[in-house]
Symmetry: C2
Subunit: 231 residues, 2 copies
Amino acid sequence: MAITLYDLAAADADRRFSPFCWRTRMALAHKDLEVDSVPWRFTETDKIAFSGQGKVPVIVDGGKTVFDSWTIADYLDAAYPDRPPLLASPRERALAKFVGAWTDTVLHPGLARLIMADVWAHLDDKAKPYFRESREKRFGTTLEAFCADRDSKLAAFRQSLTPLRATLQAQPYLGGDGPDYADYIVFGGFQWARVISTVQLLAADDPVAAWRQRLLDAFDGLAGKAKGYPV
Amino acid sequence: MAITLYDLAAADADRRFSPFCWRTRMALAHKDLEVDSVPWRFTETDKIAFSGQGKVPVIVDGGKTVFDSWTIADYLDAAYPDRPPLLASPRERALAKFVGAWTDTVLHPGLARLIMADVWAHLDDKAKPYFRESREKRFGTTLEAFCADRDSKLAAFRQSLTPLRATLQAQPYLGGDGPDYADYIVFGGFQWARVISTVQLLAADDPVAAWRQRLLDAFDGLAGKAKGYPV
């Protein structure tokens, strides 16, 4: 039986933009598990109330409900030990936590300043006021001011990728010869941007762009064929 | 028979300040290998010419000469598979590479702007002109200008540690419950600073400081007892 994934969607239900849901979507593909993906919008708290909290990703696997992308990754490795591991040992998991911390505290904040206004523009009419209010409170300014002067921010964003770039110059994936969950954590951020924004995050000759393309092409183009903008 | 380590030293031969040599020193201790540490100074190229290159760390293990801290770590895991692994799998190694890239491109450059003038001040008279000339060429300015206005740089440095801090808030080591080579990579930078500079890099309540203290205390205080300044 397919695993159900509640997956954040824009006004257009095919536009799935959550970086955290993309971590889970790629993780499910990595483990070659069948997925029944359900579009979910910010204001549809009722629809996932059964999980006891209000955020996606949420998965339902048979009778089991799991939420939070890290918890889901751990669950999938524990529940499907015969499938390719996302993280094969406690130490791999610990090291991937640093990749996750870098993603959450460097990559995502840098992306947010480039694309948050684009996120708002793609939302359905019910979600728009919720999103604007909650984010403007968090950022302490309007979405438009937060995302102003994108060109000058883009240079700083590309500069912030230096550790990622140096790693991917020396090896094809963060996981080495093949991708592991650390790759999906970082890739989720790039896919978030691609689905919701026309911003060209990377120069064509950037090793990060080559890595992103490999992951866009992975699993029969799962992420690359998903509705979004060209990279 | 003890492994010989050629280890970068200041004018005072007991002051061992290379972050890369500290990676190797901690790695040797992790694997519980006996070490015969030889102080080496920047201008003593003759002394390590047998290695076919001019930088430390260099180790000699029986008849085998190995240089470059990453190559040494790989060598130690391959040559001593029954000792505690520095990195237990190709994937762990790949993930540790990202930690290394972050260290080389974020942590070390941030530290350099705080301590490079202190490094120069501790060198022997023969090494001083070499160090000043080579570093001023690299930085495009004098050591004094490069390291000016330390107080304002310290705030930016502490901010740059956010991914490390977030990780160490959630787990005691980058390697999880215990340290692995990724920890020694990052720790090498902090030990570089402690040995050569009085700068107080971290606030006392910083989780990074607690982690550093655990590594200063590790292996009977190997790094903590080494000649340097109090943290």
